[in-house]
Structure formats: C-alpha cells, structure tokens
C-alpha cells in the first residue's frame, strides 16, 4: 500500500482550500448588458452587409489583426521548415497498408475539398470561414498522406506560389482600399443584399485569400510532421 506523508496531505489541503477561495471569486459575476459587441451588431447591419457578424468582425473591424495573425502562422511554418531541414528523402512514418482506405480515398478526397470550398465561400453567410475551410482542405491532404504513404508527395512550388500570391492578394486589397477610400482594408466594392452569395463587398475576397494561405500552410505543416524519418 502506498504511504502518504504528512507533508503531501498538508500541501493538498492548502491547495484545495485555495481553489475553493479562488472559485468563490470567479463565481461572482454580473451580466454585462451593453458591450462593444452590441455596438458592432448595430453598425454591422448598415456598414458591411455580411450575414455573419463574426466574419465581419474578423475580416472588417479587425482586418489588420487578421493580417498579423496570418503572418504569425506563416512565421511559425517558416521556423518549422528551417528546423526540420526539408521534406526530401524522408519517409512517411504513418504508413497504413489498408486497401479499403486506399480505394476510398480517391472518392473522398474531392468531396472533402469541395466541402472545404463550400465552407470558405459561404463564410459570410453561415458558420465557418477561411480558417475553418482551410483546415478542412488540409485534412483532405492528411487523408491522402495516410492512405498513399510514400507514393503521394506535394508539389511544393505550386504550394509556395499559392501561399505567396494569396498573402500578396490580401495586402493588395488593403492597398487598393488606401487608394480608393483612404483607409486600410476598407470596403470599396458594392455591398449587395444581406444573405446573398455576392454580398459583403470585400469580406468574401479577404476570406478566400486567407483560406488559400491557411490551407497551403497547414498542408505543408502536415507534411513536415508526417514525413520525418530519414532514409537510411
């Protein structure tokens, strides 16, 4: 039988008392009646014409912040690629020899990519958007890596081209907005009608650029982590 010393019992008693005191502080809250969010909801009906208020916060009210976020993701993938020294001459460590998966992946891959494109394009109308759809497309590539272990490899020049062009497109939208509206990442396109696919002005374009960048980055991240064993 495991023996408990007096010291450990004493420490756990003190910690549990402190947790109870801390929870008493945390559990005293008042409901906030008016916040920045209600102001944003009031503005949103007239200024962006995007049906999803979260999307308009991410890409319009905090668009510059999203640019910084995408930059952080790019820098992280850049650091990983420096550290894990290349994808060439590396073996896939998750080599499944499953014939069912190998046959099914040819049907499933385009369907998952199509679902990802749907989530991206409807990002200003329904839950979802650029980041979520980009990760869905990357998960399709993860399925390809799992099924066709060493036979499948990405064309990295196309991946890098897509990533850099989408990042440049994001900044180009901001610079165009500076030239037209005299402010960064403003809405210079016609707004359209709330709830239609072609609405929200510049918001779907920003989310499409973000989604291409995120899917390219997460796909290369998956390849870096899955293709890690050196060829002996």
């Amino acid at each position: 039988m495991r023996r408990f010393s007096i010291r450990s019992i004493f420490i756990s008693l003190i910690v549990s008392v402190m947790i109870v005191l801390l929870l008493q502080i945390f559990l005293q809250f008042d409901l906030v009646t008016s916040s920045a969010g209600s102001t944003v909801l009031n503005i949103n009906a007239n200024s962006t014409h995007s049906a999803n208020a979260v999307t308009s916060v991410v890409t319009y009210f905090r668009g510059f912040d999203t640019l910084g976020e995408v930059t952080i993701l790019f820098l992280s993938i850049f650091g990983i690629s420096l550290g894990l020294d290349g994808y060439r001459d590396k073996f896939n460590i998750f080599a499944y020899e499953n014939s069912l998966l190998k046959i099914a992946v040819d049907t499933l891959f385009p369907l998952i990519v199509l679902f990802g494109v749907y989530v991206i394009v409807h990002g200003h109308l329904s839950p979802g958007g650029g980041f979520q759809g980009g990760v869905i497309i990357a998960s399709a590539f993860l399925l390809m890596f799992l099924a066709k272990s060493n036979d499948f490899s990405l064309k990295h020049n196309i991946l890098e081209l897509a990533e850099s062009l989408s990042g440049a497109g994001f900044i180009l939208l901001g610079v165009l907005s500076i030239l037209i509206l005299n402010r960064f990442l403003g809405n210079f396109l016609p707004l359209g009608e709330v709830g239609k696919l072609f609405s929200g002005g510049v918001i779907p374009l920003i989310y499409i650029f973000v989604s291409i960048k995120v899917s390219a980055e997460i796909t290369s991240l998956v390849e870096y982590f899955i293709r890690i064993k050196d060829v002996k």
């Binding site: 809250f29 969010g37 991410v58 839950p127 982590f225």
Partner: protein, 128 residues
C-alpha cells in the same frame, strides 16, 4: 424542473467550474510529466480551458448566434457578442502556430541529444 437549470447564472457557474477542472488537468500534466511532448500537449489542454471560459462566459440563455439566417431576419441586441468569438478564432490559430513550432523544437532536440525527458537535460552543464 429542468427549466430552473436553464438559467444564465447556473450555466455560467457550470462553465466556470468545468473550465477550471480542465485548467487543473493541464496544470497537473505540465507539473508532473517528464516527457516534453506531454508537457506541450498539456499546454494545449490549458489553452482549451481558456477558450471554453472565454466563449462560455459570453453566452446567455435566449440569445441567438450572431448570424442572420432564415429564422432571424435582422441584427438585434438579442444576439450573442460576436467579438469574443472572433478573438478566440484568432487565438486558436495562434495556438496551433505556437504549438507546432514548439513540437518541431522538441523533435530537433531529440535528434540532437537522443533525450526527451526534462529531468535528464544537462546541456548547460549544471553541476552534479
């Protein structure tokens, strides 16, 4: 009887205590595990508890999601706050970036030293 449980203060209490339990699980993992992978994944668990707390405390009973759809025609104050959800979206992406960078550092450290345990690290040459 179930209607009395479907009140905003009760649900906020449940979310507070639940995310606190997840935070404790992550903290115990950080403090007691010796494997570097497990420590970093415990940091990911702590992040999850913070996401849950931040989103959950801005939920109120009777409010709809901030999306205009076939049922909800106009934007109104009867919607949840969209700003915390957008901020947590940012935080999730940054969390993925930082976690993957840390895991790549661990892989490089293991390739260099053939060691992944915290208590056997001796690269700075501390006295024994």
């Amino acid at each position: 009887m179930l209607n009395s449980l479907n009140q905003t203060p009760f649900l906020h209490g449940v979310i507070t205590i639940g995310s606190f339990i997840i935070l404790m699980i992550g903290l115990i993992g950080v403090l007691t595990k010796r494997n570097l992978f497990k420590i970093f994944l415990s940091f990911a668990i702590i992040e999850t508890s913070l996401f849950l707390y931040f989103i959950g405390m801005h939920f109120e009973v009777g409010k709809t999601s901030p999306i205009v759809s076939s049922g909800v025609k106009t934007f109104s104050p009867n919607m949840t706050d969209p700003i915390p959800q957008a901020m947590i979206l940012t935080t999730i992406v940054i969390g993925i970036a930082v976690l993957s960078l840390g895991l790549s550092f661990i892989i490089n450290y293991f390739k260099l030293t053939n060691n992944m345990r915290v208590d056997e690290m001796n690269e700075l040459g501390e006295a024994k």
